[in-house]
Subunit: 202 residues, 2 copies
């Protein structure tokens, strides 16, 4: 079991599946004992960014604060999985330059599919004009031009997308080989759970 | 060479010597290959807290953002050395509860000595009423009641204070034995410098 520090950056439209896949990848990697931290809007809102809204300026400030955290973690051999819409190429480029082993994961999904999912009813509010500057509706999303990994969450299952990311990390030599998700006995699952709890993860 | 994650929290009046000692300790530990991050006002202002002033609310928000960073680093086996005036007991208690292996370092120094040092001319401005809410002048400092380590920077040299902190870390079994600062050959110094540069530290 060995790993390097890295910054897996999930970018894509709202409801494209960024956090879902990032959570699934994080769970697999934590089970194997890798040092992993998840960063996304819901996680950092209370501690880091609760003063920020959704204007271009505020979105960039949001990403800058998160970038600082990802920079410190990834250069100390921690794997960071960050899921943010992060619609601007320039700010994603900034994250790439600041962090260690940056891996851009484009979570590609047609707008119509994202809108159908509409997990928190945000698209409906944006369509009704209740929310302004909503990415995909009245705010642009600049697609990545050369992402290291592309997921197509309208065509892949969560498991398939998860495997794709893990395969990518292995090929880039950022993590060593890991077991398949079915390979744990109930006793091991219990032991893993205890270890993660003691680390304050659960 | 082994270490645990920890959060060394230097608290004290402005100009008491918090950052100076924290820098010296960090240098010694980095040389030995420990994973170390320094956090203080000047370091986080651009990336994390540039919207904040010096009201009680803003100071607490400042510490809360830093706490989040220290929490993530210290639970991933990184040693954090944070130097902040952090004048309120309640907020330091918050940091203690949130982070791994919290060590409160009270940098004790009489107000008159701090004021004489006045590195950035801030005391003079505070006395003249140009700066408001300046700790020690027109803003309270709540001294730690049970700090793990107390430095008396009006009586100790920087080297003595540094040794005190390192000794404390060893006694708490947060770091293994380290060499004295004179034990490096010029070749080793050069090698260390290269390694630290490659990590993006210098």
């Amino acid at each position: 079991m060995s790993q390097k520090g890295f910054t897996l950056w999930f970018t894509g439209l709202p409801c494209s599946g960024k956090s879902t896949v990032a959570d699934a990848v994080a769970e697999r990697l934590k089970k194997e004992g890798f040092k992993i931290e998840r960063l996304d809007g819901d996680i950092v809102r209370q501690s880091l960014t609760r003063d920020l809204g959704f204007s271009e300026e505020d979105r960039n400030e949001n990403i800058k604060r998160v970038t600082f955290v990802a920079k410190l973690l990834s250069r100390n051999e921690v794997g960071v999985l960050a899921a943010f819409v992060s619609p601007y190429r320039s700010i994603r480029q900034h994250v790439r330059e600041e962090t260690t082993n940056f891996v851009e994961v484009f979570v590609k999904c047609p707008l119509s599919v994202c809108e159908k999912r509409d997990v928190k009813g945000m698209f409906a509010k944006a369509r009704a004009g209740i929310i302004k500057d909503f990415t995909g509706i009245d705010h642009p999303f600049e697609e990545p031009e050369n992402p290291e990994i592309t997921l197509e969450t309208d065509k892949e299952t969560i498991d398939e997308s998860t495997e794709k990311v893990i395969k990518g990390l292995r090929e880039m030599k950022l993590i060593s080989e890991i077991r398949s998700s079915e390979a744990y006995s109930p006793e091991e699952e219990e032991e893993i759970k205890k270890r993660l709890e003691s680390l304050g993860y659960l």
